[in-house]
């Protein structure tokens, strides 16, 4: 049984609380694992390696733009989330698979790359820079937390072109990198709903790597 929760467009806090609830359900054995899909209203999150200097405008300006900032327990630095970006949060008990953070991160990259490949967009990994890249631009960002070998937080896949400008408010991942989106890569409009369908189908069929997360690509 694959548990997939589609929250739609929600505030980050709402999805964060929901992740924690599902995490508890997985920890207690009420669910074996679950996947949460959603989009966020504009928000900046700061992971454990983040410093506030990676937010490039004053907090008051962020408030005027309606962008909240949260310090979160995932790994990584600063990132931006907004509509047009598909969030994929796997709450997965690695005790049932392989307790290996490296392999899990590579699997998250794989699932994003496989999804992009359905649009004939060839993305890649860059060694030492976790995430998914189209040429030298980042198209999907990853940051996770693990407790009791149960995962939460996850992947942000940039789908729509319009919202990329807000990445200029930060130094994404604490680096001077450019972001891109699936729409930008193919030069056509794509709905986030279509991406969700692809991802859901893959998860339900088990053909995505999560059915064999302990294995290799």
């Amino acid at each position: 049984m694959v548990n997939i929760f589609d929250l739609g467009l929600v505030d980050f806090k709402e999805a964060w609380d929901f992740q924690k609830k599902v995490f508890s359900d997985v920890k207690n054995g009420e669910l074996t694992h679950a996947f949460i899909l959603c989009q966020h209203n504009p928000v900046i999150t700061l992971g454990r390696q983040a410093t506030s200097k990676n937010i490039l405008i004053p907090e008051s300006e962020l408030k005027n733009k309606g962008i909240e900032v949260f310090n979160v327990e995932r790994g990584g630095d600063a990132t931006y989330h907004g509509p047009g970006q598909l969030m994929f949060y796997p709450i997965l008990n690695l005790n049932y698979f392989k307790r290996d953070i490296h392999i899990f991160l590579r699997k998250l990259e794989s699932i994003a790359m496989q999804t992009f490949s359905e649009f004939s967009v060839a993305t890649q990994r860059i060694k030492g820079l976790t995430g998914v890249w189209f040429k030298d631009k980042k198209i999907a960002s990853i940051g996770i937390a693990i407790k009791n070998w149960i995962t939460y937080h996850g992947v942000a896949m940039n789908i729509k072109q319009d919202d990329l400008s807000n990445f200029s408010l930060i130094r994404p991942c604490g680096m001077d990198i450019m972001m891109t989106s699936l729409e930008t890569c193919i030069g056509e409009k794509i709905s986030v709903r279509d991406i969700k369908k692809i991802l859901t189908r893959r998860l339900q069929n088990g053909e995505s790597c999560f059915a064999r997360v302990g294995g290799r690509d």
Binding site: R48, G76, I101, I146, N148
Partner: protein, 79 residues
């Protein structure tokens, strides 16, 4: 005494950084309580307490680098 050892975290992961301890030296902890958070690459990892007792020693503190197999601290078990 029970040693708190950093387990293998994954293929090619040779080090982690201590984010913070959830307890101070001298405080009581229960088995499976979150004891210490570590960061590596784009992940944070909470190491649970291996036993119930008192956190008697912290060997690696916030911001310090630790390698799998190294002892992060120690607990005095309840008698």
């Amino acid at each position: 005494m029970v040693k708190v050892v950093l387990p293998e975290l994954g293929e090619g992961i040779e080090k982690a950084t201590v984010s913070f301890w959830f307890f101070k030296e001298g405080e009581k902890v229960n088995e499976k309580d979150d004891l210490v958070e570590l960061t590596t690459d784009k992940a944070t990892f909470n190491l649970p307490s291996p036993a119930t007792g008192m956190l008697s020693e912290i060997t690696f503190h916030e911001g310090e680098t630790v390698h799998p197999g190294e002892v992060l601290g120690a607990l005095e078990e309840n008698q």
